[in-house]
C-alpha cells in the first residue's frame, strides 16, 4: 500500500480517525440486510481501532513532547485553522478509554441486541459514534473538536431515538439534541471569542498563551465561561441536566457507552483539554466549581426516589460528572481525569450489568427485578455489586482512589463548604447505589406474587449460562472484564499520575502539594470519607436490606420533599413552562405572524400587482389593427423629429 504514510504512528492515528467511518458507510450503503456481516464489520473496525489506540499509548508513553500532525484546512489572511491529530498524554489516555469501552460495548451488544430488526442500523450508529468520538479526542484545534463534538451529539440523538417507533424515545432524542445544542451555542460563541481575542484555535497554543498571560484576561474569562456552557450541555451539568435521565430511553449498551462512560464525559474531557486556559481565569473556575457542586448534590437527591434501575445510574452519572467538574475547577487536574477514567470503567460496568437484568426480566423496575429473582444471575449480580462499591467509593475499588483524590483537592480549597458538599455527596452516592443493590438482593413481595414469579422465572435463572448460550456470554464477558478493571485500576493511581503529569507543569505544583502532603489531615479525610461511604451503605441496609426493613426509605416521611425529588426539582416543569411561554407563545407567534403577513402577504402582493398591472395595461390593446398602425406612424414621426431636428 504505497499511499499509506510510512510513519506508523500517523497510520495508527489515521486508522482510528477513518475506519469506523468507513464501516458506518459500508453498513449503511451495502450490508444493511445482512445483520451478521454488518456486526462483523463494525466490531472488526473497532477492534483495529483498539489495537491502534493501545499501540499509540504504548509507543508514545514516554514521548517528551506532544506529537502533532496538522494540515492547513482553512486559511484566511493570517488565520490558519488546522485539521489533524494531537497525540499527547491526555488525548491518548482518553482515546484508549473510548476504544476499550466502545469495543466492549459492541461485543456486549451482539448479545443484547440479538434478533433486533434494526441490528445493522444499530451497528452503523455505533461506528458513527466511535468515529466522531475518537476524532474529537485527538483534535488539535477547537474548531475540529467542535465539529466532532456535534457529530457525537448527532450519534447520541440517533441512538437515543433508536426505538423511534416509541413516542417517548423519539421525544427523548429530541430533548437531548435540543438541550445539548443550547449549551453548544455558548461553546461556539466561546470559540469565536477566542478567535477574535487571540486569533489561534490550536489547543496547545491557547494553553501556552493563557498561562503566559498573552491573552487579555477578559477574553480568557469570557471564553472560558462560554466554553463551559458547552461542558454544561454535554456533561449534563446543573441547568441542563434533565436530558440525561431521559436519554435512558435508548438501548442499555448505548446508555453504557454514550450516556455514562464516554460521550457525556466529553465535556469534562474538554475542560481538562484546555485546563491551563481555564486555570488562567479564577472567575471561570469559580463558576464551574459552583455549577459542579450544585449538579452533584441535585442529581444525588433525584436518585433517592426513582425505581427505574437505569435512571438511578443516570442520576449517579450526572452527579459523578459534577464531581469531576468540581475537581477540575478546584485545580485538581489529575484527580478529575483520574475520576473520569475510573468512572468510565465502573459506570459502563453498572450499565452493562443492568442491561443483563433488563434483557432477562424485560423491566426497568428494580423492585420487579428483585422479585423476579435477580440475585440468581450470579455473574451480573456480583459484577454490579463491584460496580456499586466502586461508585460508593469503598476500598479497594477504583472509585475509592479517584474519589479520595478529588476530596483531597477539595480539602486544599480555601472554602471548606465545597469539601463538605463533596463529603455529603459521597455519602449520598453510597446510599442510593446500595438502595438499588438491596432492592434486587433482598426482594420483598407478597406471598402469591413470590410463588408466581418463582414459577415464571425460577427454572430459567438457575442454569443461566448454559441456557442462554452465546447470547448470554457475549454479555457476560465484557462485564467480567470491566469488573476486573474496576478492581485493579485504582492501584495504578501513581503510575497514571506520573504518566499524565509529566507534561503538565501547569498543574504540577498543585498535585505535588496534594500528593506530597500525606499528613495527618489527609488520613483524617480518608477515614472520614470511607466512614461516610460505609455509613451510607449501612443506612441503606437498615432501610432496604435488613429483614425487618420497610423498604420505603426515610424520604417517605417527608412526602413534600419526596415529590420534589421525584419531579426532578420541577426542572422539567420549569422548562416546559418556559418553552410554552417563550417559544410557543412568544417566538412562534411572532414567526407565524411574520410568515402569514410579511412573507405570504409579500408574495400575494407581488401576484396581485402583476395581475392588476397587466389588466391596466391591456386597455391599450383595443384589437383594432389600424389604431396600432396610427401609433406606429406617430412613433416614427416622433423619431424623425427627434433625430432630424
Amino acid at each position: 500500500m504505497m499511499w499509506l504514510p510510512h510513519d506508523p504512528v500517523l497510520s495508527a492515528a489515521l486508522a482510528c480517525a477513518t475506519l469506523p467511518f468507513l464501516s458506518m458507510a459500508v453498513i449503511l450503503i451495502f450490508t444493511r440486510p445482512y445483520q451478521r456481516l454488518s456486526c462483523a464489520i463494525s466490531v472488526g473496525a473497532i477492534t483495529v481501532c483498539l489495537g491502534c489506540a493501545l499501540y499509540l499509548l504504548i509507543t508514545l508513553r514516554h514521548a517528551p513532547a506532544p506529537v502533532e500532525y496538522q494540515w492547513a484546512w482553512i486559511v484566511s489572511s493570517d488565520m490558519v485553522i488546522p485539521f489533524g491529530f494531537l497525540l499527547d498524554r491526555l488525548s491518548l489516555l482518553m482515546l484508549t478509554i473510548v476504544a476499550v469501552i466502545s469495543f466492549l460495548v459492541q461485543v456486549y451488544s451482539i448479545g443484547y441486541m440479538h434478533g433486533d430488526p434494526g441490528f445493522s442500523r444499530y451497528y452503523a450508529f455505533q461506528s458513527l459514534f466511535a468515529w466522531a468520538m475518537m476524532t474529537m479526542v485527538i483534535a488539535p484545534g477547537m474548531l475540529q473538536l467542535y465539529i466532532f463534538w456535534e457529530l457525537v451529539g448527532l450519534a447520541s440523538y440517533l441512538l437515543i431515538g433508536y426505538y423511534y417507533e416509541k413516542w417517548s424515545a423519539s421525544q427523548a432524542g429530541k430533548k437531548a439534541f435540543v438541550m445539548t445544542r443550547l449549551g453548544d451555542i455558548g461553546f461556539f460563541l466561546g470559540i469565536i471569542t477566542v478567535l477574535l481575542g487571540f486569533g489561534d484555535l490550536g489547543i496547545l497554543h491557547m494553553n501556552h498563551a493563557a498561562q503566559a498571560g498573552d491573552i487579555h484576561p477578559a477574553v480568557v474569562t469570557l471564553g472560558a465561561i462560554l466554553i463551559f456552557c458547552g461542558v454544561v450541555g454535554k456533561s449534563a451539568q446543573f441547568p441542563l441536566l434533565t436530558w440525561l435521565p431521559d436519554a435512558m430511553e435508548g438501548p442499555t449498551p448505548v446508555s453504557a457507552l454514550l450516556h455514562s462512560a464516554t460521550m457525556v464525559a466529553a465535556g469534562v474531557y474538554l475542560m481538562s483539554r484546555i485546563f491551563p486556559f481555564f486555570a488562567a481565569s479564577p472567575d471561570a473556575m469559580a463558576v464551574a466549581l459552583i455549577i459542579g457542586t450544585i449538579t452533584m448534590l441535585l442529581a444525588s437527591t433525584m436518585a433517592f426516589v426513582t425505581y427505574d434501575i437505569k435512571q438511578v445510574w443516570a442520576y449517579s452519572t450526572v452527579s459523578q460528572l459534577g464531581f469531576m467538574v468540581m475537581s477540575l475547577a478546584a485545580g485538581g487536574y489529575f484527580a478529575g481525569v483520574f475520576h473520569l477514567t475510573t468512572h468510565a470503567g465502573f459506570k459502563a460496568l453498572l450499565f452493562l450489568c443492568s442491561g443483563i437484568f433488563i434483557h432477562e426480566y424485560h423491566t426497568n423496575d428494580m423492585r420487579e427485578i428483585g422479585r423476579g429473582g435477580g440475585r440468581k444471575l450470579t455473574i451480573p449480580m456480583i459484577c454490579m455489586t463491584v460496580g456499586a462499591l466502586a461508585l460508593a467509593g469503598i476500598f479497594p475499588f477504583s472509585g475509592f482512589f479517584s474519589k479520595e483524590a478529588i476530596l483531597g483537592v477539595l480539602a486544599e480549597h480555601p472554602n471548606k463548604l465545597f469539601l463538605g458538599a463533596g463529603l455529603l455527596g459521597a455519602a449520598m452516592t453510597a446510599y442510593y447505589s446500595f438502595r438499588l443493590i438491596f432492592f434486587i438482593l433482598f426482594p420483598r413481595s407478597t406471598a402469591e406474587e413470590a410463588s408466581h414469579h418463582e414459577e415464571a422465572h425460577g427454572h430459567g435463572d438457575d442454569h443461566g449460562g448454559g441456557h442462554h448460550g452465546h447470547v448470554f456470554w457475549a454479555m457476560a464477558w465484557p462485564v467480567m472484564i470491566l469488573a476486573t478493571v474496576t478492581l485493579v485500576l485504582g492501584f495504578f493511581q501513581n503510575e497514571l499520575q506520573s504518566y499524565l503529569l509529566a507534561l503538565e507543569p501547569a498543574s504540577h505544583g498543585h498535585e505535588a502539594v496534594e500528593h506530597g502532603g500525606h499528613g495527618v489531615g489527609h488520613y483524617l479525610l480518608l477515614v472520614t470519607a470511607v466512614c461516610l461511604a460505609v455509613g451510607g451503605v449501612f443506612f441503606a441496609y437498615l432501610e432496604f436490606g435488613w429483614k425487618k426493613a420497610t423498604q420505603e426509605g426515610f424520604l417517605r416521611k417527608f412526602p413534600a420533599v419526596e415529590t420534589l425529588f421525584a419531579n426532578r426539582w420541577y426542572m422539567d416543569h420549569f422548562y416546559r413552562k418556559a418553552l410554552d411561554l417563550l417559544v410557543y407563545c412568544g417566538f412562534t407567534n411572532v414567526f407565524t405572524r411574520n410568515d402569514r403577513r410579511v412573507i405570504d402577504g409579500g408574495i400575494d402582493g407581488i401576484c396581485r400587482f402583476t395581475v392588476g398591472g397587466g389588466r391596466a395595461v391591456s386597455f391599450l390593446q383595443s384589437g383594432m389593427l389600424q389604431y396600432n398602425l396610427v401609433l406606429m406612424v406617430a412613433a416614427v414621426g416622433v423619431l424623425v423629429l427627434v433625430f432630424a431636428l
Binding site: S618, F619, Q621, S622, G623, Q626, L629
Partner: protein, 102 residues
C-alpha cells in the same frame, strides 16, 4: 422648382395618400391597395434619385424592380390571408377581426 423636386413631391403625395388609405379604410382589400400605393411612392423616389443624382444608373432601377417583385409577393400573401380571414369571419372588415383586444 426643378424637375427633381416635382418628382419628389408627387412621390410624397402618393405615399401620404397610401398611408391615409391604410389608416382610414376598414376594408382589408382597400388597405392592401393603399399599401401598394405607398410602395409605388417609394419606388418613384428611387427612380427620381437614380435619374438625377446617382453616378451609376443601374442601381436604382434594380431596387425598383426588387420592390415590384416584393409588392407582387406581398399582394399574393396578403390576399391569401384575407381569404383565410374571410372564410373564418365571413367578412373582410378589420373591425370584425378584434380577437387581440385586451
Amino acid at each position: 422648382m426643378n424637375s427633381l423636386s416635382v418628382y419628389l413631391t408627387v412621390a410624397a403625395v402618393l405615399f401620404s395618400l397610401g398611408l391615409f388609405g391604410v389608416l382610414m379604410r376598414r376594408n382589408l382589400i382597400g388597405m392592401l391597395i393603399s399599401i401598394e400605393l405607398m410602395l409605388n411612392g417609394a419606388n418613384l423616389n428611387f427612380m427620381a434619385f437614380n435619374r438625377f443624382l446617382a453616378p451609376e444608373p443601374a442601381v436604382g432601377q434594380i431596387m425598383a424592380l426588387f420592390i415590384m417583385g416584393i409588392a407582387a409577393a406581398e399582394a399574393a400573401i396578403g390576399l391569401s390571408i384575407i381569404l383565410a380571414l374571410f372564410r373564418r369571419l365571413r367578412s373582410i372588415n378589420v373591425e370584425r377581426a378584434q380577437r387581440l383586444r385586451g
